[in-house]
Point group: D3
Chain length 240, copies 6
Amino acid sequence: MPRQDRAPDALRAVTLEPDVARHAEGSCLIKFGDTHVLCTASIEERVPPFLRNSGKGWVTAEYGMLPRSTHTRSAREAARGKQSGRTQEIQRLVGRSLRAVTDLPGLGERQIVVDCDVLQADGGTRTASITGAYVALHRALARLVAAGELPRVPLLEPVAAVSCGLVEDQCLLDLDYAEDSSAQADANFVLTASGKVVEMQVTAEDVPLAPAVIDALMSLAVRGTRELAKLQVQAIGQTV
Amino acid sequence: MPRQDRAPDALRAVTLEPDVARHAEGSCLIKFGDTHVLCTASIEERVPPFLRNSGKGWVTAEYGMLPRSTHTRSAREAARGKQSGRTQEIQRLVGRSLRAVTDLPGLGERQIVVDCDVLQADGGTRTASITGAYVALHRALARLVAAGELPRVPLLEPVAAVSCGLVEDQCLLDLDYAEDSSAQADANFVLTASGKVVEMQVTAEDVPLAPAVIDALMSLAVRGTRELAKLQVQAIGQTV
Amino acid sequence: MPRQDRAPDALRAVTLEPDVARHAEGSCLIKFGDTHVLCTASIEERVPPFLRNSGKGWVTAEYGMLPRSTHTRSAREAARGKQSGRTQEIQRLVGRSLRAVTDLPGLGERQIVVDCDVLQADGGTRTASITGAYVALHRALARLVAAGELPRVPLLEPVAAVSCGLVEDQCLLDLDYAEDSSAQADANFVLTASGKVVEMQVTAEDVPLAPAVIDALMSLAVRGTRELAKLQVQAIGQTV
Amino acid sequence: MPRQDRAPDALRAVTLEPDVARHAEGSCLIKFGDTHVLCTASIEERVPPFLRNSGKGWVTAEYGMLPRSTHTRSAREAARGKQSGRTQEIQRLVGRSLRAVTDLPGLGERQIVVDCDVLQADGGTRTASITGAYVALHRALARLVAAGELPRVPLLEPVAAVSCGLVEDQCLLDLDYAEDSSAQADANFVLTASGKVVEMQVTAEDVPLAPAVIDALMSLAVRGTRELAKLQVQAIGQTV
Amino acid sequence: MPRQDRAPDALRAVTLEPDVARHAEGSCLIKFGDTHVLCTASIEERVPPFLRNSGKGWVTAEYGMLPRSTHTRSAREAARGKQSGRTQEIQRLVGRSLRAVTDLPGLGERQIVVDCDVLQADGGTRTASITGAYVALHRALARLVAAGELPRVPLLEPVAAVSCGLVEDQCLLDLDYAEDSSAQADANFVLTASGKVVEMQVTAEDVPLAPAVIDALMSLAVRGTRELAKLQVQAIGQTV
Amino acid sequence: MPRQDRAPDALRAVTLEPDVARHAEGSCLIKFGDTHVLCTASIEERVPPFLRNSGKGWVTAEYGMLPRSTHTRSAREAARGKQSGRTQEIQRLVGRSLRAVTDLPGLGERQIVVDCDVLQADGGTRTASITGAYVALHRALARLVAAGELPRVPLLEPVAAVSCGLVEDQCLLDLDYAEDSSAQADANFVLTASGKVVEMQVTAEDVPLAPAVIDALMSLAVRGTRELAKLQVQAIGQTV
């Protein structure tokens, strides 16, 4: 059945709630419809070994899902004793996406660890994570500015992410779980507010894709991330 | 500095919000002041090997803390590749506490897995977990009753838990993190609504305790858990 | 069948044999009936990171069971690649119990590691471990005194542990395996020679307990640990 | 320094040597310049649990690098006790790429495991792995056909992969290690012989990319994979 | 300093004490001087997968050292999460040695697991383990005979092991720890009572050895194991 | 069936190809018939902790098999998360064998890590590894000499290894997989070019061995390793 509750090029209802966590230096609870991710940013006054004495900082990310965030319960990764390949793939993606818009020398020799924990999942957890992580990161950096530790927030521009896909031969923006499960192709785009590409991953689930489909998905993504970037800016603005 | 914002024998503000999770069969978000735990109960139509063909069910629990639920960030257990001794101790305690009030033959040959995930920590995460887990468990079982799978909810009576401690030679109910950190003794009580003891753990942090202190802590616990049991019943009642 | 070979408030035959291990700085082979635990104390001239340059020492413990110490063979934890939750719970308990009677600043910046290895198990392995560990620890510290490294043994008073339980509605001291397996409630008490409480853990196995039962179990424990403390003092005395 | 030994749109010298492994049902040693990968395909007469009794087969892949395939020695993953996130990302990519061109029902209920082991690395190990893996897979399937187990090779069309990147503002095909290390953007394309997209991953290493760059990289990739597909067909043809 | 307390071709004081463990089907506490190993044999009514429905049995072994069996404390393998290469080498050796003298079809489809746990170490723990393990294994099998489960003990002849070494250019039998630490060569021989070779491992620690040295070590080993076999037979005989 | 393609005392066709790996400081691809092992030697300017400031160097080895180097695919050790006991046994043997002919003080405070990776297996992988590893090690050390870092290659004499075995009551040199699988006894000898013993391991697979068999196997090994040592010298000579 084709999508009925919103237009093919529409996002789900998106909300960003900054400063929800009492202890973290920065935080944001982001909701893409029924997908809810708690993002926290923690400041550490040390950097990984390869950056010591470089004057540059680092941003890294970790990702997890609560065992019953999903339709059926998934085994707890801490109990199984290792993170899945999927988890590692996603946290590497989130980290790279944030670093692409961070002025690392401007951050100084410190590290920000962003944790993205999925409280409830309904498709698009990695794109919601990136979008919320940006806000959490900004809040933590703003705290450093407020404390006089940094002259300005060392972020170049907002970064946001959204999924697109081909479902029943129709290109759709921001897939939910049901759509994602039946998609012929699944793509994740990480774009800046100005429409530049940070990361782009396209996977044909079923049959290989004509290049024209890629272009169509990209157009949807540009539209979707522009809207998300506005919401990010609003959310950060309202905290002042 | 002695406790100022509430009486020595008062709980923090406690709220229980059932049915917060979209996918879990039962759930409850419980808050003991700034300690927030998301409890979900998942029904599985199988039991551990030692119960196969016994006609009896099982209730088990897992526990986790989000990395930045704490004052400073803790390493993610999934990334370290194992659960700490503390985590295992707590999840074993939660499981035993729930089983003590469950009619396991009445549950039939199925297992309920209760996940307690700490979103924000300010002391008392294990006692909040047990108290919230009971509500999540009840909600999952009520669903089985509603579906005609069980004739009645196989729970004997509510079970709730609270910490008590000796701080600056004063017995206090429901310690927050700051109190817990400076406590001379720390105790956790798991009691039923009728005041019976399910689990009791007392630890002298500093100097060994006179037996009279144990009695005083127990009195506080009886009072605290009676109040918590009322809130559990209310929370469950309002879902009907 | 009720206990027949000894009174409800009697310990099993207890022996403590200090200095049994050739290499360890302190050691004690303790027997609670058919439960035999080899305790060794090893002195290390370094402390955990959080105590460096604090002037304070540390006491920690590890626990293990030989695979065929039990009625049926248990998997070797080293082969399974991890210690069970039960093992970690016990070794944390032993460590806390010993630290509660140790003058850590008086120990100076060194660590004592106490290993409790169960050679044969028949119930009460954790309480035998604590009781024997105290003697091993004392012997290691006495050696430091003899070598002029410490002015006196930095122990405040003896600490001993015993289990109690409710079996067929009767309160019993020092349960063996058969009694423990059929107990309605199981409690472990760690008390000092002067009757103060260091740790106390009560678990209702079957049905929750009336508070009066707790008092009865506590009385038994006070009696049992007083007797154990005498045996500890004797065992240490005979080594001089 | 810009690329000097070949045109910006030229592949490195590529060779594919099928049937190099004595024991594997299918194999191919592929070289992209100084990057050498040994690909073997092993037939297993069983499928993962989720496919049992489905009538469908499965293709999966594993990836590894010899410790000294790299410029400086890397720790052996078997000794470290886990596969890195990068390794898992790559082996998941190889598996998805092969499945996208495999007629899984036509394979029948059996599994092909393709191992890609990097003997020597100089950039592009994942793209060489996919390209060589296709040939190894084809050889294993042809053996099933020869044995009368399958009526035809259940592969839809060849699949090949190549990297492209932006280096000193120039778009280059098939980056070697030195180019990859200094690239502003790095992309991996998995395309079919007919130019359809199976997987596409673009990562901006330094600054976000204008969409036009993506198009330019895609054009290079189409050209490169078309050439690789010819070499695959040749390599398979010469084995007959 | 050359060996002074015994002749170069003399064993240390050896004692074998069978049936020391209450729960194990067979057991033996063996002492080679200050090296003490507790060997237990456990009967399991199942075999490894590769022997199912073969009518044959299996004998396997595990080995461990208590953390403070050694001169300085060694890390507990269960805590480190894996067995060392040395441990695995030894337990594989013990298992092979026992299987070489066991009539596996005569054992029937069951498995004997022999655990060798070093309570105190002073060199030669692997040879003491093998020698004691034979007695523990015999005791467990004799119990099966006594129970009418087997017509006779399915062991072909006794197997014993001893170390030899070249120390200060002198060949010595049964090295203790001090001798072993300064040995130029170290050899372990596993021989049957009739003088046949089951396993033989020679390692030149310092400089490679002339073949004549091997012969000299072998002669010592034949003499030593003949004596050990007598003690094994005696120990088993006295249990009747 | 007895061996038909070569004499009982003949090696398989042996080739040693030095300098095959582009990045490693030393390397050798060795073939013993269908057994192919890639050996690389990596120089590290640091030593294990126990040698720091000793002025002495270290040589260590790691060993692995590609998953489909074997007749049927073996699980990848990196994926299983640990190295097998067999792998650890072999890599310890290779390391000891190389150290026995290395002048460790002459090496200076650096470490050489030799990796032996089996590309294809047909029996004798550990003996081929040792034989090839010597050449790789020599090549790496010669590079240090050429760079003026060392005055001479700090190797005392060549070391080589070969297997021998008793098959159908006949002593054979250099067993292939089929012979090894049906051997009554299996022995591995590591000898120097001058015929001295570095390591010797004999295992009776089936029935214990008469001492005369050991002598016969040793004679074969002396002959075989003398021939291998010539090939090693030739291979190293041709690189000059």
